[in-house]
């Protein structure tokens, strides 16, 4: 539906719904923190951003041009390769997967003994992998400054045309 629809507003709303659904799915997968974030940031913030952008650019998509089969083929190949990759993964939910046997148990015991807060995700996020979080802040900062830098031209348009700064 997202592919077919030409009204971008609906597309954006649908993608918001999709985000929300995925948040729900995260809950069933025990990832409550992620679900919160996805609901707030993915479904909420992103949709607002999209709406803002739509308000500035208009919301109708032109009719799609001549279809070429290439994207479909690429998509199929991608999916096939990924599924081939997935075959080798430990079965879904298996407790013996290497990912659950190594490193992860230390986090759980470590959170109890070293950090002392109940939420393991927060513990890992803030301490063991705190540096990632710092980097994440960096990313937000970059995006913020980037958006300001890109859009301030628009808020205060310059008079001179872009071409004549030669010399």
């Amino acid at each position: 539906m997202i592919i077919r629809l030409q009204n971008l507003l609906s597309v954006v709303m649908l993608s918001g719904v999709f985000s929300l659904l995925s948040a729900g799915m995260f809950v069933t997968l025990d990832a409550v923190d992620v679900a919160f974030t996805e609901a707030a940031v993915g479904a909420g913030l992103t949709t607002i951003l999209f709406l803002g952008a739509l308000a500035l650019t208009g919301s109708a998509e032109k009719a799609p041009r001549q279809r070429s089969p290439l994207p479909l083929i690429v998509m199929a190949v991608l999916a096939a390769i990924l599924i081939y990759g997935v075959i080798g993964l430990p079965p879904f939910g298996s407790a013996d997967a290497p990912a659950h046997r190594y490193v992860m148990p230390e986090y759980i015991s470590g959170t109890q003994t070293q950090i002392g807060i109940p939420n393991i995700v927060s513990a890992v996020l803030a301490s063991y992998r705190g540096f990632d979080t710092l980097g994440e802040t960096g990313v937000i900062f970059t995006a913020g400054i980037g958006v300001i830098l890109l859009l301030r031209r628009r808020l205060a348009p310059r008079v001179s045309p872009p071409e004549d700064d030669a010399g």
């Binding site: 997968l29 025990d30 951003l49 650019t57 879904f92």
Partner: protein, 129 residues
């Protein structure tokens, strides 16, 4: 493992992969720039699903300590995806800001129309240069 078992054992992965492929398809097949970004979003969110699925442990609970020994789902993918979600939004924000500027500069946000304008400009350059 029989076929059915196998599919059952991996259904979550497969679902996210199909979504991933759809997202990717939107990015490469659609001409509207906003739709491309939507596709990119879809693509990324399905990657998040893949990660979270990997972290799931059957019978486990959310990784929050309650005092009694329990089976937890793996918290590490959750941590990673929290970061990745933020990165994804940041990318979306920059992408949309770029689209707004493109709209200002070209008046359209359709890839093929922009391409036509750029071609014309290039030919002009080639003639004058």
């Amino acid at each position: 493992m029989t076929g059915i078992d196998f599919i059952l054992a991996h259904y979550n992965y497969s679902a996210s992969i199909i979504l991933m492929a759809l997202g990717f398809y939107i990015v490469i097949s659609r001409g509207n720039l906003i739709k491309k970004i939507v596709g990119l979003n879809l693509f990324q969110v399905s990657v998040f699903m893949l990660y979270i699925s990997m972290g799931k442990v059957s019978g486990g609970t959310a990784p929050i300590l309650t005092g009694k020994p329990e089976l937890f789902s793996n918290p590490l993918p959750h941590v990673l995806i929290l970061t990745a979600i933020v990165v994804g939004v940041a990318t979306t924000a920059i992408g949309l800001a770029l689209i707004v500027r493109i709209k200002d500069a070209y008046g359209v946000i359709e890839e093929d129309e922009i391409l036509v304008m750029d071609r014309a400009r290039e030919q002009l350059d080639a003639r004058s240069g």
